[in-house]
Amino acid sequence: MEEQKTIENRRHIYIFPVFVLVLVISAIFNLSIGTAEIKISEILGIITGRISPEIVESFILLKIRIPRLVAAILGGGYLAVSGLLMQVYFRNPIVGPYILGISSGATLAVGIVMLSALSLGFAGVSPYMTVFAAFVGACVVMIIVVFVASRMKSVIALLLIGIMVGYIASAMTDMLVAFANAEKIKGFVLWGMGSFSGFSWNEIYIMLVAGGIMIIGVYLMSKPLNAFLLGEDYAQSMGVNIKFFRLILILLSCALAALVTAGAGPIGFIGMAVPHMTRILFKTQNNRVLIPACMLLGGIMTSICDLIARTAFSPAELPLSSITAIFGAPIVIGLLVKRRYSL
């Protein structure tokens, strides 16, 4: 029996380094390509301080490209982990924060806060406030979806409910925009299309610290998350406190999605597609492997999509969600078509 002990899946040992390498390559492209080309040597020089921060390239890199890149990598990773949590919770591979309308709920809540602040004459809203508003909006939609889903067992019904609730939230956001003063809302409309541009370092720190804590929390929960793969009844029979765990699961997935949405607006399909891609690549459902894999691959996919959105028709910039949808939507269709198991 000795030789049988090494049977467990060990693919992650060589896939993780590849992920890190690809992420680094993507980061380099993101930093150097653009309306102003910046060479790798220049990038290194600016970061290490050898090149004066006074020149234009330094400004572009430090104030625009690096924050945008970091936001895209973190945001993509958080969305992917948020989607992974939802997929575990609903035991359904086709859900994510965008498809279930969670992002739309967060957008609506942020819209309400931002536009009412503007109409009351405030110059802007603190990032803490938008994050909190996004979290509340995300939770409200999640509660609705969870409640309705508990009465229907079908995968398709769950998707449709999410999409419909998302539509309602988007419609309300549109109405809000229609009533608001056209000039003031320009920024809001741009944000509402989803983009990682315009992140301040302050916002990045919030994202890094708050999100980092949550990701560590999620990773520490990977054991009960794995038990959950067999369904609530089995998870409970293996010692998981279901009520508590369900609540934490929902709160964390909403908070991660809200954190990203508050800063970048709704970004589609990353949260749904990336967890699925990691499962295929690693050939496992083990969340202890999938959580870090989602962080890395979410960062890779989002930074690549952002690069395409920014450079494909430069100087015009495409909405990020249109790029993510082009690779994400076919994955949804593929999953629906080949679904071999019924849930």
Binding site: Q4, K223, G239, R340, Y341
Partner: protein
């Protein structure tokens, strides 16, 4: 032997237990005491509350009233993880097993024993291999779960429960949807787990015969209550089983442990001279084809007697181990005269039943067509006759064919045979 020694302390005890959903009571007043190493089967029609009781015992459902004790401690005083170390389940719910190998799936059972992040230690791996060996599924360890048959999957579900190292396993319909081979294999695995590992098993089953063979206790559940709970030998009587399932068309025979379909109400009548088990298969065939059976003279400890009785045949009986008497033989005369055919099943002739051969001679004398499974020369020697009405058949199959052909050509049977 080890069961006798350890059977004293109760592992699961139910006191005046009422189970159900919310305020809707499904089963009330359940009393039971289950010891270490016992196999307990719950029997009853679908939807009667077997699953409700099982889910209450596994604490997936809140009990409504009464008490459940696990190892003499109230179930509600267990922490979730502590309960998981004592009790594992095998449920009927469908699970997405995509991307799980057999080993990985079984290893999920180690959950209540592993550390904070759930990494497997060497001891955990050993336990997983041990569980796989117990269910004869070592060969499935590297296979992908979603490519396995239902029976193979079920073995891994049981291995997962065993890997949890519980003292009790609760199974809901563990053999539903399985082929015969896997049904038998799974039941054998479960029974061995009780006998060898001292596990206590509580399972809902749908096969009375299987339950009778493996269980130490059976619970018959019907109409909101446990109508009987005890040893299968006491509880599983023909009447109890028929009442439990409201069966009219079949009879359970405790001795042979199977359910027999009652005979049809056809017009054809056959008298079988049988004994020592030579008639059982034949009776089932005749009964299946709607032929009324009369048989005799049979000792009432004969397998043929049990099968014939369960099939609702008319039997001329003799007490067990007793000589067949003149009087019994003469009681057969009427049924033989009424029969369309007479069958000699080729029963072994010994001192006690020698007189049965006279029945065949009598039937021939009455001009009845007689089918015999004896070799022609044996039949001739035994019956001291070579009547043209005696049809020798090489085998049971041939007899069934010949008889079948005759029965389907309604009414013309006797004439065509005489020609």
């Amino acid at each position: 032997m080890n069961r006798v020694a350890t059977g004293i302390n109760s592992v699961v005890e139910m006191k005046n237990l009422t189970v159900g959903y919310g305020i809707k009571e499904v089963l009330t007043g359940i009393q039971a005491n289950i010891s270490r190493g016992q196999f307990v089967s719950l029997l009853g029609p679908n939807g009667v509350g077997k699953t409700t009781l099982l889910r209450t015992l596994s604490r997936h459902l809140q009990k409504i009233e009464g008490n459940i004790f696990i190892n003499d401690r109230p179930i509600e005083r267990y922490g979730q993880r502590e309960l998981a170390r004592n009790l594992a389940v095998v449920l009927t719910s469908r699970i997405n097993t995509e991307l799980f190998t057999g080993f990985e799936f079984t290893a999920m059972g180690r959950h209540p024993h592993t550390g904070f992040l759930g990494a497997l230690a060497d001891r955990d791996r050993e336990k997983v291999w041990e569980a796989l060996r117990l269910v004869n599924a070592v060969n499935l360890a590297e296979r992908q779960m979603d490519q396995l048959s239902d029976g193979e999957k079920q073995k891994l579900f049981i291995a997962r429960a065993l890997a949890q190292e519980p003292k009790i396993i609760i199974l809901d319909e563990p053999t539903a949807h399985l082929d015969l081979k896997h049904q038998m294999e799974i039941m054998a695995i479960l029974r061995d787990s009780c006998r060898e590992k001292g596990l206590t098993i509580i399972a809902s089953l749908h096969d009375v015969g299987v339950a009778a063979r493996v269980s130490d206790q059976v619970a018959l559940i019907k109409d909101g209550a446990v109508v009987a709970w005890g040893r299968p030998e006491e509880v599983l009587t023909g009447t109890n089983v028929s009442e439990l399932y409201d069966i009219d068309g079949a009879v359970y025979d405790r001795t042979i442990g199977t359910l027999e379909m009652k005979g049809g109400s056809g017009t054809k009548k056959v008298f079988c001279v049988s004994g020592a088990g030579t008639g059982a298969t034949l009776f089932r065939f005749l009964s299946k084809n709607g032929i009324n059976i009369a048989t005799g003279v049979l000792n009432d400890n004969d397998v043929d007697h049990h099968v014939a009785n369960a099939l609702g045949a008319h039997i001329i009986s003799a007490p067990a181990f007793e000589q067949i008497t003149e009087e019994m033989i003469s009681n057969c005369a009427g049924p033989i005269r009424e029969a369309d055919y007479v069958i000699d099943t080729g029963f072994p002739v010994r001192a006690a039943n020698r007189m049965n051969t006279e029945l065949i001679t009598y039937a021939l004398a009455q001009g009845k067509p007689v089918f015999t499974l004896r070799k022609a020369e044996d039949a001739g020697r035994l019956l001291k006759t070579d009547s043209g009405n005696l049809v020798a058949c090489q085998s049971e199959v041939q007899l069934l064919d010949k008889l079948g052909a005759m029965v389907t050509t309604q009414g013309s049977g006797v004439r065509s045979l005489n020609e």
